[in-house]
């Protein structure tokens, strides 16, 4: 068997008894399918022509009994096959989910959601289908051809020869059309995908569309894609329109040939009439399974390819794990980076970073987009690992910490807040699902989120996320902040967490954060100097290096990059002050420290 199946065998091996049972039932079902033509032959030959009327009742009873038994076995055969497929798919799905939940961030940096989704849905289904009925179909086809040919040879060689000629024609037609249909369906899917994303884009960007009065342009774009979808469907039907008639006429020609050959044989007493009737009946029994040969073969190749894509996920290496991690509790929050280098492929993202942070200190990082600030803070909870050097928390290398304990003590607020489709409560309590409502409220208050949440009609039970009600960017960020606060972390990381809020709100959050940061080691990434200036240490990062470090006062005095940024941000207010001299006095201390 193909390598893909062997490598996935752990998932289906426990359920193999179902498959064996299914196969056993299948053999009986197929044989019973040939009983009806045989009984038909007996009725015609013995009862109708041979006038043995006494045989009729038991022949009729046999027809009914065969149909009943065949029905039960057929159900059993199909259902056990489905059980085999579904149970395997269930385990496989759980294993994939488990794996995805532990993949390193760097893996997610490379992956597209759409691609991953199609593996988890379409590929998993293709694999399941082969287990559930693909194997059965292939075996069944073999059995039908074998058994029915044996039976026909046994009845009469000549009409059997006619059937033997038809079989390859049907099989060939099946494969020929399936190959084309497969292509046609792929085109339909692609075309539908394009149409779908086009419509989605117009809806999401409707404000832009309307404000540029571009409705006609969008309609043209849509019409073009809509027409393409129409064409792709019609080109599939151009294959259908030959496939069904060709299979039909092959069977029909078979009927005529059997009538001619069989009729001649009957007339010359080489064969009995009942055999002729039986032949006609067998013809319909093998017609469609043969015509579907292409589909069955395709099912097999599809399942192999799909299995391969699933294995890529299941066998992907997990770099960031702890085997026998040490768990130190409580974490004090002492952080130390020693000669840290981080490379992404060819690029050196961080170079020779050395840093020592005492418990409870606040460290602010600033620098241009892409300078390496986020990478630096992501090393602490091991979202990424260093390429060389060490990151120590409480004096122990983070790679020796128990991963879960480490992450429970380091809370991160990401730049783009992500809310799950559930209640605000569950979103805040994401890391601590057992938190009480009072604790959640307290965290929300500290993140300056309580006020707006409590004004919502459903309060903390309001459902948010993609399909829930829309919150503004600032509101989402405050919920994400509350989520981090509820963790009661020893180390708090704010990765540009207040970027989407206006200055007034940021000011309020800043005030609230003063209390949160007390007693915790905090890392803040921000662009506004006003957000950073109270930090115990400010690091200015440029091209992966710490180019300046010190307190706000020290850095201003240095006349370096920090000073230049400061001037850029505050020039505005200086000129403004001059313009309204006397009209407005800034609060004590002023802005220029």
């Amino acid at each position: 068997m193909a390598g893909e199946f062997r490598r996935l065998s752990d998932f289906y091996r426990p359920y193999l008894p179902w498959m064996y049972l299914s196969m056993g039932l299948l053999v009986v079902t197929t044989v019973l399918g040939l009983v009806y033509p045989y009984l038909l032959k007996l009725i015609v030959n013995r009862v109708i022509i041979g006038h043995a009327y006494g045989d009729l009742p038991w022949l009729i009873a046999a027809i009914l009994a065969a149909a009943l038994v065949k029905g039960v076995f057929n159900f059993g055969q199909q259902y056990t096959g489905q059980l085999f497929g579904s149970r395997t798919a269930y385990d496989l799905r759980n294993a994939l989910y488990h794996k995805l939940n532990r993949q390193p961030f760097s893996w997610y940096d490379e992956i597209h959601t759409g691609d991953l989704m199609s593996r988890l849905t379409a590929d998993l289904d293709a694999f399941r289908m082969f287990l559930a009925f693909g194997i059965n179909n292939l075996v069944n086809l073999g059995l039908i051809v074998g058994f029915s040919m044996a039976m026909m040879w046994w009845m009469n060689g000549w009409p059997a020869l006619v059937m033997l000629c038809l079989m390859p024609v049907l099989g060939f037609a099946g494969v020929f059309f399936d190959r084309r249909l497969h292509k046609a369906f792929r085109r339909i899917r692609q075309s539908l995908g394009t149409l779908n994303s086009g419509v989605q884009e117009t809806i999401m960007g409707i404000r832009t569309v309307k404000s540029f009065a571009k409705e006609d342009f969008e309609l043209d774009k849509f019409t073009h894609r809509n027409d393409d979808y129409f064409d792709s469907n019609l080109s599939a039907s151009n294959i259908w329109k030959w496939f069904f008639p060709v299979v039909g006429i092959t069977g029909n020609v078979g009927i005529v040939l059997i009538l001619l050959v069989g009729g001649w044989l009957v007339m010359h007493q080489h064969m009995e009439l009942g055999d002729l009737v039986a032949f006609l009946s067998v013809l319909w029994y093998i017609l469609w399974p043969l015509a579907d040969l292409g589909f069955y073969l395709n099912n097999w190749t599809q399942a192999r390819a799909a299995g391969g894509r699933l294995l890529e996920i299941l066998e992907a290496p997990v770099d960031i794990t702890t085997q026998n991690g040490v768990h130190r509790s409580p974490m004090r929050g002492c952080v130390c980076l020693e000669h840290v280098n981080v490379d992404y492929g060819e690029n050196r993202v961080l170079e020779d970073i050395n840093l020592e942070v005492a418990p409870g200190e606040t460290v602010a990082l600033m620098g241009l987009t892409g300078s390496g600030k986020s990478t630096l803070v992501n090393l602490l909870p091991r979202f990424y690992d260093v390429s060389s050097g060490r990151v120590l928390v409480d004096g122990m290398d983070v790679r020796q910490w128990d991963l879960e304990a480490l992450r429970r003590n380091v809370a991160v607020v990401f730049q783009e807040p992500f809310l799950f489709s559930t209640t605000i409560f569950s979103n805040i309590a994401y890391g601590r699902p057992d938190a009480t409502l009072e604790e959640v409220r307290r965290a929300a208050r500290m993140a300056d989120a309580a006020e707006f949440i409590e004004q919502l009609p459903d309060g903390y039970a309001t459902i948010v996320g993609e399909r829930g009600m829309g919150l503004s960017g600032g509101q989402k960020q405050r919920i994400a902040l509350a989520r981090a606060i509820l963790q009661d972390p020893s180390i708090l990381i704010l990765d540009d967490a207040t970027s989407a809020v206006d200055m007034e709100t940021e000011y309020q959050i800043q005030q609230a954060l003063q209390e949160v940061m007390r007693g915790r080691t905090t890392f803040i990434i921000a662009h506004r100097i006003s957000t950073l200036k109270r930090a115990d240490k400010i690091l200015v990062i440029d091209h992966g290096r710490i180019v300046e470090r010190g307190t706000h006062k020290e850095l201003l005095a240095r006349q370096g990059l920090y000073r230049r940024i400061f001037d850029m941000q505050f020039r505005d207010y200086d000129t403004h002050l001059a313009a309204v001299a006397g009209g407005f006095s800034p609060p004590k201390g002023g802005h220029h420290v």
Binding site: V47, T113, T223, M267, Q569
Partner: protein, 601 residues
């Protein structure tokens, strides 16, 4: 509601709403739907003719097979054997051609109707007001245009034509059977009601079971997609074990429903076989009895067996059509609900195009309410001369955005008049108005395509040089050139590769290329890295010069440069004047500025 209920709800790990589909049969809607087919009378006639031809062969062939046995084989007449086989071959040839045509024409008909309906729906939805889009998630609008329309495909392609010919075939088989032998026909047709029962009851049950499976599939997929997107949060908060338990529950529930649907589907064909066997048993039991009495022939029994087999197909298809009608009824209700929604802002029939404007804007006692009784704007009047910059200032919900929405005529005022160059904007074509107004939104929407295409969005006739010149003017050229394919870099997934500030610069370039006389700018609140922020401020100066500009402003620098500042509070203009004037007044504006200072200090 008791407290524990609220708590359980509150703690739901994830909530995925289901669009449970209500099934009710509405003939009015079905009739309206079928009306779309009438646009293709020729195709209908061809499809119908072809389908009738295949039905006729279905009716005639078993009779001929019976004749072969009786009058050729039984009598040993070789000539007749060949003649009848020739007739049969001819019939099958007709059938071959006719089914080919049937498949072609029914698909042509179905796909045409689907295409027309979708185009009408898309075009209509696009014209609807912004409230329509604000009130529902983009996903639900997408589902109607795509999935609901697609779910009609079966009905239009096969359902309608087939159900007519199936009736015809059924009646035909009954008539032929009765004319061949009435008593045998009566006995064998005992199974027909059972077939009907199977077809209608069982197929409805099967479809419902699969519907349940689909609901669970979409829930599970929603969770998977969300999990992937939010995986960083899950890993950061070590939530894996709880989520695994949730997913396994979901997965188990899905498997249970899937196997239930399978059981229902799988039981179907054995049951059909069984009714067929009962039919055959009756046929031969009673048939042989009649045979001994000399009432029927062997060939006739064979024909009957074939007719009995042919009963099943039309009955099964009628069951399918019944299902298709149920599905179509639900989908069409939702489709027509959209089609019957009227846009709030509509042009007068004979509205002229707005001639090229200078950019003088006037609001006279303008009032507006989004919902009756809650005034979003109350008695707002102001006048802006061509080339002036107006800064709109105030808290969220004070009325700034409403002014912008009314000026671009996304809504009409409930009272008062808005004039551009002295012309009431309600009296001109909305398109011609919007083409002369440029709008830069807070969050710039990037279309999939190249950067070049995106900048050109508002002015499709602009050359590449024009686009580059526009980008240079707003300082966007530098970062664009640094991308791997420069202006021809493809941006996908709504521009996620670009930073917030970069997207803004692109929207500036887009606006400057469209070169509108009136510009509306909704300044972004997000903090942007200092260098890009610096570029944006310089770009703003370029963008605003030479046009009438309305700015919902957050940057003090932008506000200060404005010719006029309008301070909004609760839908009214509470202060107006220049920065210096307003600072001296020590009113609302003064306090707003002071708040910012307190933060910066």
């Amino acid at each position: 509601m008791c407290k524990s209920d609220v708590q359980a709800d509150l703690r739901a790990p994830f909530v995925y709403r289901e669009d449970e589909r209500i099934e009710k049969f509405d003939w009015g809607q079905i009739r309206r739907l079928l009306g779309y087919m009438l646009a293709y009378p020729k195709v209908i006639v061809f499809a119908f003719t072809a389908t009738c031809a295949t039905a006729l062969v279905t009716l005639a062939a078993p009779y001929v097979v019976g004749r072969v046995i009786d009058s050729a084989i039984a009598t040993g007449h070789t000539g007749r054997l060949i003649t009848y086989c020739g007739v049969l071959l001819a019939l099958y040839a007709v059938n071959f051609y006719a089914s080919n045509r049937r498949i072609y024409y029914t698909n042509l008909l179905g796909q045409n109707v689907i295409r027309d309906l979708r185009r009408q729906l898309f075009s209509h939805v696009q014209k609807l007001s912004l409230t329509f889009f604000d009130n529902r998630p983009a996903g639900s609008v997408l589902v109607r245009i795509m999935n609901d329309v697609n779910s009609l495909q079966d009905l239009f392609t096969n359902g309608v034509i087939n159900s007519i010919t199936n009736m015809f075939t059924l009646v035909g088989i009954i008539v032929i059977m009765f004319s061949l032998n009435a008593r045998l026909a009566l006995v064998t047709m005992v199974v027909v009601p059972f077939m009907f029962l199977l077809s209608l009851r069982l197929t409805v049950n099967i479809r419902r079971a699969w519907q349940q499976v689909r609901l669970r599939t979409s829930k599970m997929n929603a969770h998977l997609a969300e999990s992937i997107q939010g995986m960083r949060v899950t890993e950061a908060y070590a939530r894996q074990d709880e989520n695994q338990a949730f997913f396994e529950d979901m997965n188990r529930d899905y498997m249970r429903m899937f196997l239930r649907a399978q059981r229902r589907s799988i039981v179907f064909s054995p049951l059909v076989d069984l009714t067929g066997a009962v039919g055959s048993a009756l046929l031969f039991g009673y048939g042989v009895h009649l045979l001994t009495a000399g009432e029927v022939t062997v060939g006739l029994l064979v024909s009957f067996a074939n007719y009995l087999g042919n009963f099943w197909t039309p009955i099964a298809q009628l069951g399918q059509v019944y299902n298709q009608l149920l599905v179509a009824s639900a989908s069409s209700e939702r489709i027509f609900q959209y089609l019957d929604t009227q846009p709030i802002v509509q042009d007068a029939v004979d509205a002229p195009a707005l001639p090229a404007i200078e950019g003088r804007v006037e609001f006279v006692d303008v009032e507006f309410e989004y919902e009756p009784g809650r005034k979003a704007l109350d008695g707002v009047s102001f006048r802006v001369e061509p080339g002036e910059t107006v800064a709109l200032v105030g808290h969220t919900g004070a009325g700034k955005s409403t002014v912008i929405n009314l000026l671009s005529r996304f809504y009409d005022p409930t009272a008062g008049v808005i004039r551009i160059d002295g012309q009431d904007i309600r009296t001109v074509q909305t398109d011609s108005l919007r083409q002369q107004i440029g709008i830069v939104l807070q969050d710039t929407f990037i279309f999939s395509g190249t950067i070049m295409d995106n900048i050109r969005y508002g002015n499709p006739s602009a050359s590449d040089e024009d686009v580059i010149a526009a980008a240079c003017a707003v300082y966007a050229d530098e970062f664009i050139r640094q991308m791997e394919n420069g202006y021809h870099t493809e941006v996908r997934e709504r521009g996620s590769r670009l930073s917030m500030g970069q997207r803004q610069l692109i929207s500036f370039a887009r606006a400057i290329l469209a070169d509108p006389k009136i510009l509306i700018l909704d300044e972004a609140t997000a903090s942007i890295d200092t260098y890009t922020e610096h570029l944006i401020q310089k770009a703003l100066e370029v963008l605003l010069s030479g046009r009438t500009a309305f700015v919902v402003a957050h940057r003090l620098s932008t506000i200060r440069e404005a010719d006029q500042i309008l301070v909004f509070d609760h839908g009214q203009i509470v202060e107006r004047g220049t920065h210096t004037e307003l600072m001296a007044e020590r009113g609302h504006y003064y306090h707003l500025v002071e708040a910012q200072y307190r933060f910066l200090a």
